[in-house]
């Protein structure tokens, strides 16, 4: 189970030179409860006191959702900064910083995993990488993951975390919406199951494209899920939104999520789902064979 480590933010891991209290303890960002860093990690970065689900890295996510060592998938790479974009900082520098901070190339990674013997392609987004925003790399990574799932005839699981479009890529980031929806359509036309796990937050162009189109949609507790963020709505409408607006529980009651699953239960839930689909697809093959005879 060596690959299972690596859950807590690199910051905590890399400062192992001392046993200072700052490294031993982790303060829950929600209720401020002091928890042993080791205990926090074992709890998959969920507060045992208040159930707060801390945002985690894509690498940690992949490690916690597989029975075997995940097989990382190599994804298509593009020329950085297609527009030569500069706001308060050069986009190129922003990318450089994000890569250094997260140790990944862009806001999504993918791996082939196995749960109780059932294989799947797992596509995971990382909010720490420029807000998990979707540009050409992320859109293409999703398409590649979908194509691979189809080629191997195994389900696709997508764990989302994103503020929306990668604005620094301008219209190219907008074009990722139809591109990823097309990928979902490929899955559908090939009868390949597609399961979405929404994590905090999933908003904008990501929730308005592939993150909405799962055959089954799960969500972590209290994740922000919506097209327009609550702050923008409050500003433009000059209102105060009620507590919990657009959170997982809200989306469950409004009919946009199938179930809310605690992080510690997620692997079990996905295993269950994969098993149902796998057996159903076997039976389908059997039925086809019988029909032919």
């Amino acid at each position: 189970m060596g690959w299972f480590l690596n859950l807590v933010k690199p910051k905590i891991q890399s400062n192992t030179e001392s046993n200072s209290p700052a490294n031993l303890w982790h303060a829950c960002p929600s209720c401020s409860e002091m928890i042993f860093a080791k205990e926090w990690e074992l709890a998959l970065c969920v507060c045992p006191k208040c159930n707060f689900h801390e945002r985690i890295s894509a690498i940690a996510r992949i490690n916690m959702l597989s029975d075997v060592k995940p097989k990382m998938i190599s994804l298509p790479v593009f020329k950085d900064d297609p527009l030569g974009f500069k706001d308060t900082q050069n986009y190129k520098d922003r990318l450089k910083d994000a890569r250094k901070k997260t140790q990944i190339h862009d806001a999504a990674i993918a791996a082939e995993i196995s749960l109780d013997g059932n294989k799947a392609i797992l596509f995971v987004m990382d909010f720490n990488f420029i807000g998990g925003s979707m540009g050409q790399y992320v859109g293409s990574a999703f398409l590649q993951s979908a194509n691979l799932a189809i080629a191997k005839n195994i389900p696709l699981i997508a764990v989302t975390a994103s503020g929306g479009a990668r604005m620094q890529e301008g219209i190219i980031s907008l074009m990722q919406m139809p591109k990823t929806v097309l990928a979902c359509q490929f899955l559908r036309e090939n009868d390949v199951p597609y399961i979405v796990v929404l994590s905090d937050p999933t908003t904008g162009g990501v929730i308005a494209s592939f993150a909405s189109l799962g055959d089954i949609t799960l969500s972590e507790p209290n994740a922000l899920i919506g097209f327009t963020g609550p702050r923008v709505i409050e500003e433009t409408m000059q209102i105060k939104l009620e507590e919990g607006f657009q959170r997982s529980e809200f989306q469950l009651s409004h009919g946009f999520v199938d179930a809310i699953v605690h992080r510690s239960e997620m692997k079990k839930e996905l295993t269950k789902i994969l098993d149902i689909f796998a057996r159903a697809r076997e039976n389908k093959k059997e039925r086809r064979k019988n029909e032919r005879n």
């Binding site: 706001d87 219209i171 162009g205 909405s212």
Partner: protein, 311 residues
């Protein structure tokens, strides 16, 4: 007071003078010469202004309240219009007008944004920003068009999808995603024309078809430059910078292969010369429709896969 664009300032008093002159003139009046020279002078100045527009000025033209909006193109270019209303789930969205009709004698299905004519209509139509009902109505229209062999034309003019409490409660994100998916279920050609603002998800939901054209002085962007400036520069005062950086003009987007064609617009813009603009749009739509109607539904799908796969 009528709405004025700051950079058109020089030409506005001359235009007022011209209109005044036109009202009080007979054909044999000696003032006809003055009228002609005034008209020439105005065109000269407009040529100069419009030859040097910055992207943020395109944005202002695209948002000009006198600029024809989507529904105006339906009124001008579509005959025998039959309205399609409601999403059969919650309500109708007047920000998006849908229907069947004929374009140049060809039976078609059409949709267009309606930003609204006066302030009351603008408020009613949420300034052309559609709610989930609007996108669900589009999904309905697309299905209808596919089943009965009606080529689709959409006229886009929206700042984006509605961004309020109600639209969130009723699942704006799913309505948008499902509407984009409806683009890929089409068995008939979908030809989209951005006639003013092509804003974000609210625009792409109606423009993921087989051909995308833009009027010269319209814009197409992932986020409105004001919103982009607020997010990336943390200050709306940087809207002009954002407008340049985002590459929102038809010229840039044509180069990038995002749009298939730029439709010429008279110098001075559609807000000044609507009839000439309608006519230009009619001609280009006719050509493009002819090209697309020759394709089978498989060929249409291949075209879409190539078009969107490449980004």
């Amino acid at each position: 007071m009528t709405y004025q664009l700051g950079f058109e300032e020089v030409v506005l008093p001359l235009e007022a003078q011209l209109n005044n002159l036109k009202k009080n003139i007979s054909l044999d009046s000696p003032l006809v010469d003055e009228l002609t020279s005034l008209d020439k002078q105005i065109i000269r100045i407009l040529n100069k202004i419009y030859a040097n527009l910055e992207p943020w000025q395109y944005l202002l033209i695209a948002r000009h309240p006198d600029r024809p909006t989507g529904v105006d193109y339906i009124r001008k270019l579509i005959t025998d219009f039959v309205p399609i209303c409601g999403d059969r789930t919650f309500g109708d969205d007047s920000a998006l007008v849908c229907g069947l009709g004929k374009f140049d004698g060809i039976p078609v299905a059409v949709a267009g944004h309606n930003k609204g004519f006066d302030i009351d209509e603008r408020i009613k139509n949420n300034f052309g920003m559609a709610h989930p009902e609007g996108y669900r109505k589009i999904t309905r229209l697309f299905d209808l068009a596919s089943r009965f062999n009606l080529p689709l034309i959409t006229f886009i003019d929206t700042k984006g999808a509605a961004a309020n409490k109600g639209s969130e409660e009723r699942g704006q994100f799913y309505a948008l995603a499902d509407c984009i998916r409806a683009n890929f279920l089409l068995k008939v050609p979908l030809l989209s024309v951005i006639v003013g603002e092509g804003g974000s998800g609210g625009a792409i939901a109606l423009a993921s078809g087989h051909s995308l054209m833009m009027l010269k002085y319209s814009i197409f962007a992932v986020a409105s430059p004001d919103a982009c400036a607020a997010i990336l520069w943390k200050d709306r005062a940087f809207s002009a910078n954002a407008a340049s950086a985002l590459k929102i003009t038809s010229t840039d987007l044509l180069k990038m292969g995002v749009i298939d064609k730029e439709i010429e617009e008279p110098v001075g813009g559609a807000h000044r010369f609507p009839d000439q603009t309608f006519e230009n749009a009619r001609k280009e739509i006719k050509k493009e429709l002819k090209r697309l109607m020759a394709l089978s539904s498989d060929q249409l799908r291949m075209l879409q896969q190539e078009k969107f796969g490449k980004f």
